[in-house]
């Protein structure tokens, strides 16, 4: 289904759209306030962007350096070209540890690789431990936002879900009560887990360590209790030196939620004695995106979600309308690289207002890339016949003043003289909720000619 169709369905419940819009706008405002407090914020963004650009231009060397430093610290490093390889590697580690219970902290990469269903089929219990992720896992839905996975759910909906799955009492959606029940439920899971899986926010080439950021402490609860830690990262998570964390940790949480930093920024450099640490480095289409000059910078992304919070379309259509692991503006420039046909409507789900590019902490030119994807899609994907015919004809008309003059006049004639029912028919998407402009007697050309004659 196209984005516009899913968005239209989401818009059937206007009160919910208003709520969704306001909740995310509030996060955007918190981001603004937080950024205002940082001396040199725009310079910080420039640094973030510059460091990431350097990383992409030297990515192979950094990965080799990272691997070598990680190995020196006893970390097992694995490489996966695609999702299947990634999942197989995870499974092989679980088999080695005879692991039946896994706790996972938030990782968009494992979502992208569909790790949960893969492991569940093998009889392994996989529990998402980030509260928002646990909520959508119980609801059997994908996350609708990369930082706020359950932002599409009201507290009443969570209440019902918890009653059903965790046996909680009805609380009319009392957040404190629901969180305390989730804490108990998940604590039990942490204590019984064999292996913990986490994502990676940053992987440092010159130390071989990784950094994971959470507010809840779920990554740490998982890792420090389990026998083994598997950290899954896309190749683009590399940064050159540890000091560069000073740039990215200043940007990340402020952009994401407006906090000055996440509650926990955990630096894993070595496994605890008697335990194992594994890192899986995953490509899964990223090197292909690296080859596309116009879209390469999309790999700068540090997954803060700021572009979603600011996007007026995302706020009013919900994350599920994008039908991709990463929704919103950044998802709309990443997804066509993965499957152009399936995601061809996403670059059009934007007014190109540019707010996403302005909030992006690593200065990805998101709206310009959306424009560029449109050009690619029109060339490579079959377009609706009417849309194509209309726009192709327009191209010819607009290049010929005579034809244009004629077309302009006939359109005006139609607007002026056809009865309303003919203009406001079902095919007229403009007229469904909007009036058409009133037509004045002369167009400007005619007025100008008359004035010059009179003058």
């Amino acid at each position: 289904m196209k984005h516009s169709e899913k968005a239209e369905i989401f818009n059937k419940d206007e009160a919910k759209v208003n709520w969704h819009d306001k909740a995310l706008w509030y996060v955007r405002e918190k981001r603004d306030n937080s950024a205002h407090k940082v001396q040199g914020w725009e310079y910080l963004r420039e640094l973030g962007s510059g460091i990431k650009a350097n990383v992409l231009s030297n990515l192979d060397e950094y990965l080799i350096q990272f691997e070598s430093n990680a190995k020196k610290n006893g970390i097992h490093v694995h490489w996966a070209s695609n999702a299947e390889e990634h999942n197989e590697i995870v499974n092989s580690i679980l088999v080695k540890h005879d692991a039946k219970k896994v706790v996972k902290s938030k990782s968009m990469l494992t979502e992208e690789c569909h790790l949960n269903p893969y492991l569940e089929k093998k009889g392994i219990e996989v529990i998402d431990t980030d509260l928002g992720e646990r909520i959508v896992q119980l609801a059997k839905e994908p996350p609708s936002h990369i930082v706020l996975p359950a932002i599409h759910k009201t507290k009443e909906e969570v209440d019902v879900l918890f009653q059903e799955h965790l046996g909680t009492k009805p609380s009319q959606g009392n957040p404190e009560y629901l969180v305390s029940e989730a804490r108990k439920h998940l604590r039990n899971k942490f204590l019984k887990a064999d292996v913990a899986i986490t994502g990676v926010n940053f992987a440092v080439a010159d130390t071989g360590g990784v950094v994971v950021c959470t507010n809840e402490g779920n990554a740490d609860m998982g890792v420090h209790l389990a026998k083994a830690h598997i950290a899954c990262m896309g190749i683009e998570k590399i940064i050159p030196q540890e000091k560069h964390l000073g740039v990215f940790l200043r940007l990340l949480a402020r952009s994401a939620t407006g906090q000055p930093i996440t509650t926990y920024s955990s630096h894993f450099n070595k496994a605890e004695e008697g335990k194992e640490m594994h890192i899986i480095i995953v490509d899964n289409g990223r090197t292909e995106q690296l080859s596309r000059e116009d879209f390469r910078a999309s790999l700068h992304c540090i997954r803060c979600g700021a572009c979603m919070n600011t996007c007026p379309i995302y706020r009013r259509s919900g994350g599920h309308s994008y039908d991709y692991t990463i929704p919103g503006p950044i998802g709309s420039i990443l997804s066509p690289g993965k499957d152009l046909k399936k995601h061809s409507s996403l670059p059009f789900a934007s007014t190109l207002c540019g707010s996403c590019s302005n909030v992006c902490p690593v200065k990805i030119n998101i709206h310009e890339q959306l424009y560029k994807w449109r050009q690619v899609i029109v060339k490579e994907e079959k377009q609706p016949v009417i849309k194509k015919a209309v726009l192709k004809t327009a191209g010819v008309v607009l290049s010929k003043p005579g034809l244009y003059d004629f077309a302009g006049k006939s359109a005006r004639f139609a607007l002026k003289n056809f009865p309303k029912f003919m203009i406001y028919n079902k095919l007229n998407a403009w007229g469904k909720a909007r009036d058409l402009p009133e037509v004045k007697n002369d167009n400007f050309d005619e007025w100008f000619k008359k004035r010059n004659k009179d003058g």
């Binding site: 516009s4 007014t351 607009l398 003043p401 998407a429 004045k440």
Partner: protein, 248 residues
């Protein structure tokens, strides 16, 4: 001294549907001691095609634009979004000296008045409560003002002009620079979201006691006006050129 030669660019939809905006623009420029010419045979900057992915098919329109305007010192139009397209998306043409000249010298009306002519007071009078809709291509594209997302000092070309209009009360909005949802063909291909965004923008103006919504991009205003008229809301829309040219 030779007077500055300005080529007046009137976007296609303004020419056909909003001649009063074009007239106000022309009259404003004529007041300001520049030589204004209105080249015949103008059509469109090609933006609707480019934004829909049909950039290749817009080359004819783009070349015609350059042909029409290559001889002027400045090209001035009452539409931030069209000017943005000329400045940023005419990179699909071969960059001949003419193309480069046209791209460098194309200005949105407000920017031309303030930056090039150095005028902010046009002697206008408009005793109404006005809400300014900052169109995205003007604001974020042409940088006519500071954006709420970007950290730095506040500035606004349109506010500078409106603050000098006698009797005009510029109302403060809750969301100062949110997109109205027009977005060219977005307005029809993503009809539901486009309409919702427009409704929300209008509500913000209503909540802020606005009588007249203005802006430097009439395409946004056309979308908002369509909603206002359909829903019979107590608001008027006027292009900023009309306000700056009024002497009530």
């Amino acid at each position: 001294m030779k007077k500055t030669k300005v080529g007046l660019f009137i976007p296609c939809y303004i020419n056909q549907l909003y001649p009063q905006v074009a007239i106000a623009t022309l009259e404003l420029l004529e007041k300001l001691n520049v030589d204004v010419y209105y080249p015949q045979g103008q059509t469109c900057c090609g933006q609707p095609l480019g934004n829909s992915g049909y950039e290749e098919d817009s080359k004819g329109a783009c070349n015609l634009f350059v042909e029409n305007f290559k001889e002027y010192d400045y090209i001035v139009g009452p539409s931030g979004s069209c000017i943005y397209h000329v400045k940023h998306h005419f990179d699909i043409l071969e960059q001949t000296p003419e193309v480069i000249k046209v791209r460098n010298n194309a200005y949105e009306l407000c920017e031309f008045l303030v930056k090039i002519l150095g005028v902010t007071d046009l002697g206008a009078s408009f005793p109404h409560k006005v809400g300014l809709h900052k169109s995205c291509h003007g604001l974020r594209g042409l940088k006519l003002g500071s954006c709420s997302e970007v950290m730095g000092p506040h500035f606004s070309t349109e506010e500078d002009l409106l603050n000098n209009v006698k009797g005009l009360e510029l109302m403060s909005l809750n969301r100062k620079d949110e997109c109205c949802g027009f977005g060219g063909t977005f307005s029809v291909f993503e009809e539901a979201i486009s309409v919702k965004m427009g409704k929300d923008r209008i509500q913000d103006h209503l909540d802020s006691d606005v009588e007249v919504i203005t802006g430097a991009d009439h395409s946004c205003l056309m979308h908002l006006e369509g909603l206002i008229n359909r829903n019979k809301q107590p608001l008027k829309v006027m292009h900023i050129a009309e306000i700056l040219n009024s002497s009530l």
